[in-house]
Symmetry: C2
């Protein structure tokens, strides 16, 4: 083959390199489940734990169950503004009681009620030991020294929140593996915690490779692409609890890639690369990792993302994702997100069942991952429609701007029809 | 009323204060929609914009539409590894073509193909101007100088990704108001952006009030509660795009509250307080804001969270949420989250339709907000079950640890039955 293709491409970032064969080493074909299992085996759960103050704990994953220091409520208290009474004193009307005190929320006072006596009590204030029922303010004349009770409370113990009604002391209020969100953070604080035992954030180094990549927003020359994978993956990694080291894109040059790996892998729990994983003549990631890092590359029977692989560099797991932006992002969600969940000890990404709002065709013999937008039908069914009007082709990267989930279509499915049931994984 | 309730409560944090009447100023009853509208009027959309690099843009809200600098794909390119050919040369078999060059992804070379010539081309490499079709590698003998084409490509233009098939130059790839997530960040980068115009983060000062609050994890004395509202609300505010200034809890003391407001309100876009908003005799937030900040307090016909209000302190909107942890968090989701969305110019929280997995009773004449856990039925319906086995009572704060959505039940509903349709708002 003539070499003028090189000479004729000044400044296109390509350097002449030894011609390589087109026939790749024979590669095993794996299903999505098989390849996911292979990647999961790359990492072990992290058993380390670090103490994190609540102010820093949002998004962190609990390393241990959080136990309640005290029951909630910690004491019997009033569910209403009203009067703490002895039920026997108000079971027959008319009833007129002496008001011997006032109990605001937060008071530690435990008035010694005698027969015919009551205490004005505010919502959440502790019920006096010698009272047993609360009479709502609106069922009385609101008197302050003496009160007329106009209606007997529904039952002995009415309007009283019992200690432990939410949970007893020692109860688990959040389980190990919980990713702390506003609600769980509030529950943990309510239980008396001021800090939590959290898993360290996995450190992930991510970098895109390819001579075609432009990362400074410059106008694109023929054959060039704006680099987006490192940004999309860095954001997904942070969402999933990782600390990210994002590298500038690398050319298709084995030495440059090796230098970056030498610098990045030792300090990382995981390395993500995109591009160069295919069977072409310039797939440097595949070539370098296969030659120097025990790289294993697969035909995964999925669209998009068929060719990809993994290796270990300086002992650190390296996952080589496809270079196409849509393929890289979708393969992250399907293959890498579960790997981070395993490392952190949290549940794998949840999936839901949705109904296809429209149909599309699927590649024979391959599973398919399709960005979808979710909505509700009037009858409560969850509807999923492809996020891109032109479907799922791997160059339709804009579909990710609007997708809020991905549909996972089995490899035996050749056609999705409107109304079919789909497994969807939410991207949040 | 005797004063010994004060004398008898040394060290409980209460100070004697003038007796106050129990009858609050008459308060207007508002529906959820009416009160939400009243709060929304407190803030104006922020029209300022700041330039944010992509590395810092996750979770930020776009101030402007992002337009594509170039079409995507920017050029016709190959969808396969194979040979770029002129269809006429392979429309009749056998076909044997001379390979005049090799086009890796990223090459800017545009070989001048003559009749009977072809170019070895890699996936995503630019299609030569004088080629019109790609023949997949597997349909050939993979020759490097001469190639035998064993099967005619399906049609003229087969396996070619056309320029602009995803979107044309100038297309909107992400609309103003988008909160940047991994997918939209990737789409924005793919379109050539290296930074975005984002809304400034609203600064929100948040503080819980109440003599009963303990914030150091100390063992609870009678009547005391661990402070959790400021942590739960700070996390929700960050989730919703705010920059949070979290204050330590304040006692039921008007002077202390006024000092904190003087220090916090001027630098904030919004102030959130919890507690002291009810009709009790010690509701300092209500009393101070009403007396000094034009405070407006309402009976909102919702459970939980009936008594709450708003004001302006030094011109800054102040929202006074109920003190009960579950009430505070749920009222944040229903009333405050939409207010932040309005400020940032993003859509209000999305709601879905779900089916009640079990029934529960509702308070007559009041809307109800119930923490729920979502799951899928086999037929694709979204199921919602209450997150707490004991229901929706406002002291069951632990329900927030597991809830992934809230169900919004209308005020006319007196009983939810299994199978009923519910409006749910996802908490993510």
């Amino acid at each position: 083959m003539p070499e003028h293709d090189r000479a004729a491409t000044p400044g296109d970032g390509l350097v002449a390199r030894p011609r390589q064969g087109l026939t790749p080493p024979p590669r095993v074909r794996l299903s999505v489940a098989e390849y996911r299992a292979e990647l999961l085996a790359l990492v072990e759960p992290d058993h380390r734990s670090e103490r994190v103050a609540l102010d820093e704990a949002q998004g962190r994953v609990l390393a241990e169950d959080v136990l309640a220091a005290t029951a909630n409520p910690a004491f019997d208290n009033s569910a209403m503004d009203g009067y703490a009474v002895r039920y026997a004193d108000v079971s027959e009307l008319p009833a007129r009681l002496q008001v011997v005190g006032e109990l605001p929320a937060g008071s530690s006072w435990d008035p010694d009620l005698g027969p015919g006596e009551c205490v004005l009590i505010m919502t959440a204030a502790p019920l006096p030991t010698r009272a047993d029922t609360v009479g709502p303010l609106e069922d009385t004349d609101g008197g302050r020294d003496w009160v007329e009770v106009a209606a007997t409370p529904g039952a002995l113990g009415a309007h009283v929140r019992r200690s432990g009604e939410d949970y007893p002391a020692g109860a688990v209020v959040a389980v190990a593996g919980t990713r702390l969100a506003p609600g769980s953070l509030g529950a943990v604080a309510t239980a008396g915690a001021t800090a939590v035992a959290a898993r360290p954030r996995p450190v992930v180094a991510v970098c895109a490779t390819g001579d075609e990549l432009v990362d400074d927003g410059a106008e694109l020359g023929r054959g060039r692409l704006h680099e987006s994978n490192s940004h999309a993956l860095a954001a997904a990694l942070r969402r999933d609890g990782a600390e990210v080291v994002r590298g500038a894109p690398l050319p298709d040059d084995a030495a440059a890639l090796a230098r970056w790996l030498d610098a990045s892998a030792p300090g990382a729990d995981l390395v993500l690369l995109t591009g160069g994983a295919s069977v072409g003549a310039h797939d440097v990631v595949r070539d370098l990792l296969t030659a120097r890092a025990g790289g294993v590359f697969r035909h995964v029977m999925v669209q998009p993302g068929k060719p990809q692989g993994w290796a270990r560099w300086a002992g650190t797991p390296v996952v080589a994702l496809p270079g196409n932006p849509l393929s890289a992002t979708l393969c992250y969600e399907v293959f890498v997100r579960p790997l981070l969940a395993r490392r952190l000890g949290c549940p794998p990404p949840a999936s839901l069942v949705a109904v296809a709002a429209s149909g599309w065709s699927c590649p024979p013999g391959r599973a398919q991952v399709v960005p979808v937008v979710l909505a509700s039908a009037e009858d409560g069914r969850l509807l999923a429609r492809p996020a891109h009007p032109r479907g799922s082709a791997s160059h339709l990267a804009s579909s990710l701007a609007s997708a809020d989930a991905i549909a996972l279509v089995g490899e035996q499915v050749e056609q999705v029809a409107a109304g079919d049931l789909l497994e969807v994984q939410v991207l949040a």
